[in-house]
């Protein structure tokens, strides 16, 4: 996403602020908000339109010659700016549903449409581009590369987009500032706590300014305090950026903080 050509102007901002990425990104945000106020940029949070639409989706896996129905005709709609929690017991199909929404998998039958794009119509290259620009993933096990510094880890999605190093570093640093890890940018993941790592992973997921953030058990490996902070972070992201957030969780306390809770059982919404 590049509302109002903001990315194109990052270098201009960096030059203006003597390559200070924090100042540059703050300025960019002000610029983006201003553009939005002028009506040139449409904030997703402001519209409340349907962003994600799943229609009668089924998913069948073959495991050891046995067919397993992970999803059995799921239909749902999620609006822009919504925070939705997918809950259910293990094997209920919530992660499968998340993967379908994220374009990592395709439904056996039915369809998944995001921003009026039918994902099953996209071939691998387009689907990859779609994921890169539209979706941000947050995982239970964080998956930060242990041998990359935190700032470089955050920059990885931008690397696949082919952005310039200077721009990428500025954006990554600004996001780390945003999640409270500005002072840890040059550290390696092993030097961070679990909560900090997950915040860095969220920063990474936000790098390409996705419209959708998909989080699979984002607090599964965190204690209550850190879990609370992560949820707070999600809310503030939604509030500031209008990002639609879908969280898969077992934790009812976390789920309660979502705008809406969708419960799955044996592959159907209950």
């Amino acid at each position: 996403m590049n509302p109002g050509g903001v990315d194109d102007r990052i270098e201009e901002f960096l030059t203006y602020f003597d390559n200070d990425p924090v100042k540059a990104v703050v300025a960019i945000r002000s610029y983006a908000v201003a553009r939005s106020a002028e009506g040139q940029v449409t904030s997703p949070a402001a519209t409340g339109d349907v962003l994600i639409s799943v229609e009668n989706a089924t998913k069948t896996y073959k495991v050891a010659r046995q067919k397993i129905n992970a999803l059995n005709g799921v239909s749902l709609e999620i609006r822009q700016g919504e925070i939705v929690a997918l809950t259910g017991a293990s094997g209920s199909g919530k992660s499968t549903l998340l993967q379908l929404i994220g374009g990592l998998d395709t439904p056996s039958t039915g369809s998944v449409t995001i921003s009026n794009t039918l994902l099953s119509k996209l071939h691998d290259k387009k689907l990859s581009e779609f994921r890169n620009k539209t979706i941000g993933f947050v995982f239970q096990s964080f998956y930060l590369q242990p041998f990359l510094k935190v700032i470089d880890n955050v920059a990885v999605p931008g690397m696949f987009k082919g952005e310039k190093r200077k721009v990428l570093n500025a954006k990554a640093l600004a996001l780390l500032e945003r999640v409270g890890l500005g002072d840890r940018a040059k550290h390696y993941p092993k030097e961070l706590s679990g909560g900090q790592i997950q915040r860095a992973a969220i920063a990474r997921a936000l790098l390409n300014e996705p419209t959708i953030l998909l989080a699979d058990e984002p607090t599964g490996n965190l204690d209550t305090k850190n879990s609370e902070e992560i949820i707070k972070l999600f809310r503030s992201i939604r509030d500031e950026l209008g990002t639609t957030i879908v969280i898969v969780t077992h934790n009812t306390a976390i789920a309660r903080q979502a705008d809406r809770v969708i419960r799955l059982s044996d592959g159907v919404i209950v």
Binding site: F137, Q140, L148, K161
Partner: protein, 650 residues
């Protein structure tokens, strides 16, 4: 598409995956390639050094010994081949004795036909189906055989297509430019004997210890075996002239010179090891350069007198005390000084005996066959020293190296440089020295005509010399030669060197695929393990929007880094190994090479180190190719994998 810089950033993180396996693979693959690299560096160094020694020794040229191939039927053998040959020999017999008779008649001497020896004699053995007319063999006691052989040679030479002139035309097509000759000087011991420690050994015989050409070469002074060579062929052995020539200049073996004259100059025994031997050789060259020695040449009549003294002595010793034994009526004393004349000890001949002997002499004088006993003192001056090695004994590494590096066609005689000889004042020349080879007609009919003698042709490159030899001549021991010339490299083993180059290429053609095969398996295994370990990470990248091309780029970059490490490490190991080997053995091989190639190469180092082979680049290229080939299978499997499978294990 991911930028190369980012691919490099992500690829570098994978170096930490399966670190021990990766490190082991890199080291093993590097050692395999390092062996090849070290081999190439050392071989290239050795080849270049050998060529520089060769070029310095041969004045930047490659010499080829060329001998005309004479038809087999030109030689008169024992068994008669055909009726035509029988008739030819009968015809020659008639011609020969007609000439002799005419000579007697001209001198008015009565001719005794009973003295004629027939060119044919009955064959003691023959097949039953042999025609009666052919049941004869050549009689080598008859002077007619030599006469007939000469006539055959004269007829051949008149139409021969392998004369010196023909050779010049043929060799010129391949770039042959210089034409040199060498020939053997006929008179040897016992006609000529060495005066050693002011004594003349009247019983001296040919010596060869060991019984090889090496054995003859290291006894050439004793044997009085000399060959006259164009100076261009001997430059490598010549020492700086230390004083004006006082005799015929000669180049002799260090071994014989030291044995005969070393004692008075304080030269010790020849060491066996290469490096002390090089020092010894230098000492021999320094102390015996310019040394003058003498030999005494006695003509056949004078030699016959010495033989008579020896025979009479043996006869008298055998019959000592026998009453009916009558001593020879004419006895001589051995000369009392080197190269002196014999003196009469006792003369009890009757008047009739004296008259008969005088008549015989008078008759010989009339026929022009009388030879008066004469002797001449010849002076020789050493102007060059050759280190001679017995190549037949080449069984250890050192001997192999010597065989590889040095001259392989030293003849059995010492060398006289032609130009130096011709510049001598007449008083120092040996009368008729150049031309005495004519006497060797029977042993080598080619000497009848100089144009059929062995020639040495020089070429500018090994390739030219090789092409000439391959296309126009028979080489080596091919005695069933159908071509006009037989040829062998002269003065060095450069063809062997080229053969070894070809052999090295052949070895490389086997070794390279084997090493590449092993390296491919090792890298394939490692890549497979690394990629398996990074599957989840790949899935996460895919979730972040990485395309298959991006993942491919990251892993190809990773493969490039691995290949670079292997290349750097193998080059480092190979270079260091070759350097250490060169450092350890370079001086040793240099001393062998200097001893083998002659004094002219002093100052040239034999190095086992050269990085100028195109093979090195090929090996480095192969490392990258192999690394990428080894990656194909695991990489395709990895990028074609659905990320969801690996995500699901989450």
């Amino acid at each position: 598409m991911i930028r190369l810089g980012y691919a490099l950033t992500l690829a570098r993180t994978k170096l930490n995956s399966k670190k021990a396996t990766l490190l082991t693979s890199i080291i093993v693959a590097s050692i395999l390639f390092a062996v090849l690299i070290a081999g190439v560096i050392m071989f290239t160094g050795a080849q270049k050094s050998a060529v520089s020694f060769l070029e310095k020794a041969n004045n930047n040229s490659y010499l080829v010994d060329v001998t005309p191939v004479l038809p087999e039927d030109i030689y008169i053998g024992g068994q008669l081949e055909s009726l035509e040959e029988l008739n030819e020999l009968k015809q020659r017999e008639k011609e020969y004795y007609d000439e002799v008779r005419a000579n007697y008649k001209a001198q008015r001497i009565p001719y005794d036909a009973s003295q004629e020896v027939s060119v044919l004699k009955p064959s003691p053995y023959f097949e039953e189906n042999t025609p009666e007319a052919l049941r004869f063999i050549s009689n080598f006691q008859s002077p007619v055989v030599e006469y007939a052989q000469t006539k055959r040679m004269e007829a051949y030479v008149a139409t021969a297509k392998n004369t010196r002139a023909s050779l010049k035309k043929v060799a010129a097509k391949y770039g042959g430019s210089g034409f040199y000759s060498n020939f053997y000087v006929g008179a040897t011991v016992p006609q000529v004997t060495l005066i050693h420690e002011n004594k003349e050994d009247f019983t001296a015989k040919m010596k060869s210890d060991p019984p090889t050409s090496h054995g003859y070469f290291i006894n050439a002074i004793h044997n009085n075996a000399y060959g006259i060579y164009d100076d261009e062929l001997l430059g490598r052995y010549l020492l700086p002239q230390s004083k004006p020539l006082e005799g015929v200049s000669v180049i002799v073996s260090a071994q014989e010179a030291a044995k005969l004259f070393g004692k008075e100059k304080g030269i010790g025994e020849e060491p066996k090891e290469a490096q002390p031997k090089a020092v010894w050789l230098k000492e021999v060259q320094g102390k015996l350069n310019g040394y003058v020695y003498q030999s005494c040449e006695r003509n056949s009549a004078d030699r016959a007198l010495l033989d008579k003294i020896n025979n009479d002595y043996v006869e008298m010793k055998t019959n000592e005390g026998k009453k009916d034994y009558i001593k020879p009526s004419l006895l001589y004393n051995l000369p009392t000084e080197p190269c002196g004349a014999v003196s009469v000890k006792s003369d009890t001949r009757s008047a009739a005996e004296k008259k008969f002997e005088q008549d015989t002499i008078d008759k010989q004088k009339k026929l022009g066959t009388y030879v008066a006993p004469t002797r001449t003192l010849h002076s020789f001056q050493i102007v060059g020293i050759v280190n001679s090695e017995d190549y037949l004994q080449a069984q250890d590494v050192q001997s192999f190296l010597k065989t590889l590096l040095s001259v392989n066609n030293l003849t059995s005689n010492a060398f006289i440089p032609r130009a130096q000889y011709e510049s001598l004042p007449d008083s120092l020349k040996i009368e008729g020295l150049i031309g005495k080879d004519q006497k060797e007609l029977m042993s080598d009919p080619a000497k009848l005509d100089k144009s059929l003698q062995q020639q040495v042709v020089s070429f500018k490159t090994i390739g030219e010399a090789r092409a000439f030899m391959d296309n126009e001549t028979c080489t080596g021991d091919n005695w069933d030669c159908k071509r006009l010339f037989r040829a062998n490299p002269h003065g060095s083993n450069y063809v062997l060197l080229e053969d070894i180059g070809a052999m090295f290429q052949k070895v490389m053609s086997y070794a390279l695929p084997i090493v590449l095969g092993f390296a491919t398996i090792i890298i394939w295994f490692t890549m497979g393990r690394v990629m398996a370990e990074n599957r989840k990470e790949t899935a996460v990248y895919r979730a972040m929007g990485a395309r298959r091309k991006d993942i491919l780029t990251v892993y190809l970059t990773y493969g490039g880094i691995i290949a670079l490490y292997i290349a750097l490490l193998s080059v480092a190991i190979g270079v260091v190994a070759a350097f250490i080997i060169d450092l350890t053995y370079g001086a040793y091989i240099t001393s062998i090479a200097t001893a083998s190639f002659g004094t002219i190469t002093e100052g040239t180092r034999f190095s086992l180190f050269s990085i100028e082979s195109p093979y090195l680049l090929m090996i480095i290229g192969a490392i990258f190719v192999v690394s990428y080939i080894a990656m194909i299978q695991p990489l395709i499997r990895n990028i074609m994998r659905s990320p969801i499978k690996d995500m699901r294990s989450e």
